[in-house]
Amino acid sequence: MSLSYCKQIPSADCRFQPASISEYENDPWDIRISVDDAPLDEAYYFTVDNPAAVKRPIRELLETHALNPDCRSQLDVDEYPELPYLQEELIQYYTNHQNGQLTLEFHVNNNPEPGPINIDEPAEKFLSVCTYHDGSWDYRVLDLVVHPVIPEAGCADRKQFRRRFDDMFLMLLTGYAAGQGDEAYERFQEAALSIGQDNPPNIQVSSEFRTGLMNLERARLVKRSTQDSRDKTAQRFWDLQITEDGQKMLADLRQETDELIRRYEPFASVAIAPPALGVPDGFDARVQMMELDGIDCERTILLLILEDEKERLFEGAAWAEAYESFDVIGQVRDAMAFKTNFSAEILDALKQLAETDA
């Protein structure tokens, strides 16, 4: 289903391409940009003084006017002090979009035709008129709404992702369960090694999980051993043990994760103008730093997520669903899609700052 936006400003009417729009052809006009469903009251706007500029493509208008940092002095800062900060944030989105790291859909608010527009078309095709009820303002506006799109992982993509990281995910899950005490591990084993339909209540183990577990056994990372005193009422025949090789793999992963956290944590919230570490609400430059270091970003992000969110993913009965859906791929892809796009100089400066701090 195509997205459409019908946002309004309280105490004003915004009409898309009204018949009276020609009455405004000699007036300055606005480019207004709001993000997704955020209200118009807090949108960014830029006034274009040249009425004829409506004939230019939207892309050109964005790059030469609204999202051009050199035009910052034209922003109505006296009346709307937030504008330079909103522009800075939008520029980051747009740059990522240009570099293909993030897909930005451009929609037009109140456009009767749903779906994104082609920003190579001239602005005049999509102009609206905004009239305040008290008569204070009455102007043309290109009322853009940017919608960041994070590509959904396709089935093949998900399969490939699972194939790459299945062993790691399952080992970390098993290691986590084993570390939660006898009772919790017992419950985990009951589900993991259950036979046929005899899953414990609330935990449905998929066939993929059984295959994954067999793969771990083949790799000699875990092994099944017959229970010493088998209870006839028991749901399973075996105990699940982590082998020496498996313990070593877990220890290596632990060490690797600790090292990754140490190395990339300083870049979790940075500023760029000028570069600075540890600023509040800053950019998360970790993924870009990982790229810079030439390491496997997907694997690293996954490791960090599995460490950060191990309780959510692995605790109680949640693990079976987490494993089956492998939804963690979405988080990995989100991190990749929203990664920063700083210049090499800034990255270098950030890196030097981190080294100085260390």
């Binding site: 997704d36 469903d37 944030e89 000028p274 570069p275 600023v279 800034i346 700052l353």
Partner: protein, 472 residues
């Protein structure tokens, strides 16, 4: 140890706890009053066995007891079992928990706003509790990662040393670096009412905020501004308050507030102040700081950049609605009075923030946790519809409604435990005899907020000049 609990009947209903030895069966009021004049260490040195359950909370109690005029109060009187306690009477401590009621000498003079001096109180609190406050600041500051260096090249590693060196031995850059880090830490602390609800503390002083933040909690705008002001006062950094309201704040607001105080609340001040920020003066510059968080971006603006904000106000959307807040610089005594009213006078302020002002229990950039009164049936549907419609309007995910029966479905143990604790306290403390229903929590995932901090370029240039050159 037994507990001796003082409950303020005439103020905001706050409680203050002392721990007394199990063998102690009574305590003469004259001795208790002498105990109250002493800091914790001094009282111990003088042989007093009782001690404060929370040393910084105790400082608030001492402030109220020893200097009531400075808290806009008349002198205190103490009652046990409805019986007034004179200087030669004793508090009966035979029970494991003893309750003493605090009231006021109604014949005494009315409070005078000129007596309030939060800076003086902050400095006294710090002097009496240096270690407790410094430990909290140090735990958050991480001096190893954010170095503060004296003019002669020494790296400071504790707030106690900063306090010593700040006036004469830190240059402007290091002073600003220190203050910026303090502001950033306060901003990073969550915007929440939860910690007030579960502890029954209606409003935390600036000093009390630091251990609370070090423990992972936070507060609302005024508490966070108080926390920054506490540091400024201890370091003798000049500061002044900025207040905000959704209607224009009149030129004579301070006069109206004075009348409100002198009438002891009979005349309402206008308008109701909704936001509290601070301007600090350091290294020859002035900086407007807003550490609220909860979707209000961090502000650290120099004199030039703050002017448009002061002239035209700021926009804030904490959850659903965008609100325009008019800002105004007010005299220091106005800021002090507002903080003092919150700390000592407004009853059930934590519930006001939570329910009346709609700030809920916690607001982050991704989640709003609110609560509403729910007595079932149509009321439940009405409230769920209300929140769902607001979510739909902003195309936010459908909120989750959590009550006792489905509490176990809350994802994340931490949040689940916080909600369970809050539910227990709300049931016990929300003392409305006419209300017989229960509480339902709303978990509303949030999105589409502007995220960038608003930091003046000159501040960045001053704090990170080397990096700037490299980037250029």
């Amino acid at each position: 140890m037994k507990q001796l609990i003082f409950h303020d009947d005439h103020g905001n209903g706050a409680s203050y706890r002392l721990l007394v030895p199990a063998a102690m069966t009574h305590w003469r009021i004259r001795d208790f009053l002498d105990f109250m004049t002493r800091t914790g260490a001094d009282a111990h040195d003088h042989g007093y066995l009782p001690r404060a359950a929370d040393p910084l909370r105790h400082e608030a109690f001492r402030y109220l007891a020893n200097d009531p005029a400075s808290t806009l109060n008349r002198p205190l009187t103490y009652f046990q079992n409805h019986r007034p306690l004179g200087p030669d009477d004793s508090i009966d401590l035979t029970d494991h928990e003893t309750f003493v009621t605090i009231r006021r000498e109604l014949q005494a003079d009315r409070p005078d706003p000129n007596c309030v001096d939060v800076a003086r109180h902050n400095r006294r609190t710090f002097a009496a509790n240096m270690l407790v406050t410094a430990q909290a600041v140090d735990a958050m500051f991480r001096f190893d990662r954010y170095p503060i260096v004296t003019a002669d090249g020494r790296f400071l590693d504790t707030f106690l040393h900063v306090a010593d060196e700040f006036p004469g031995n830190l240059d402007a850059v290091n002073k600003l670096r220190f203050l910026y880090r303090i502001a950033a830490l306060v901003h990073a602390a969550p915007f929440e009412n939860f910690s007030k609800i579960v502890t029954g503390i209606p409003f935390r002083s600036g000093a009390e905020m630091w251990p609370n933040m070090a423990a992972g909690f936070g507060g609302i705008c005024a508490e966070k501004t108080a926390a920054v002001k506490f540091i400024c006062d201890v370091l003798n950094i000049p500061s002044f308050p900025i207040v905000g309201a959704s209607t224009k704040i009149p030129d004579d607001y301070h006069q109206k507030l004075r009348i409100y105080i002198e009438s002891e609340g009979a005349c309402e001040p206008s308008p109701w102040i909704q936001h509290h920020l601070i301007v600090v003066e350091i290294g020859g510059g002035r900086f407007l700081i807003d550490t609220t968080n909860g979707n209000v971006p961090f502000l650290f603006l120099n004199d030039a950049d703050m002017q448009p904000f002061l002239a035209h106000g700021m926009q804030a959307r904490m959850v659903h609605a965008v609100e325009h807040l008019y800002l105004r610089r007010v005299p220091n005594w106005v800021g002090d009075v507002l903080l003092t009213l919150c700390e000592f006078h407004v009853p059930d302020l934590q519930f006001q923030y939570m329910f009346d002002q709609g700030l809920g229990m916690e607001i982050t950039s991704s989640l709003y946790v609110g609560a509403y009164f729910d007595w079932g049936g149509s009321r439940s549907s009405l409230m769920q519809n209300y929140y769902a419609v607001r979510a739909k309007r902003l195309r936010l995910p459908y909120p989750r409604f959590i009550h006792e029966q489905n509490l176990s479905s809350v994802p994340g143990r931490g949040l689940r435990e916080r909600l369970a604790a809050a539910l227990g306290v709300l049931r016990e403390q929300y003392a409305d005899p006419y209300y017989t229903g229960d509480f339902t929590f709303v978990l509303q995932p949030l999105a589409h907020f502007w995220k960038h901090p608003r930091i003046s370029r000159s501040v960045r240039d001053m704090l990170w000049p080397d990096s700037h050159e490299k980037a250029a």
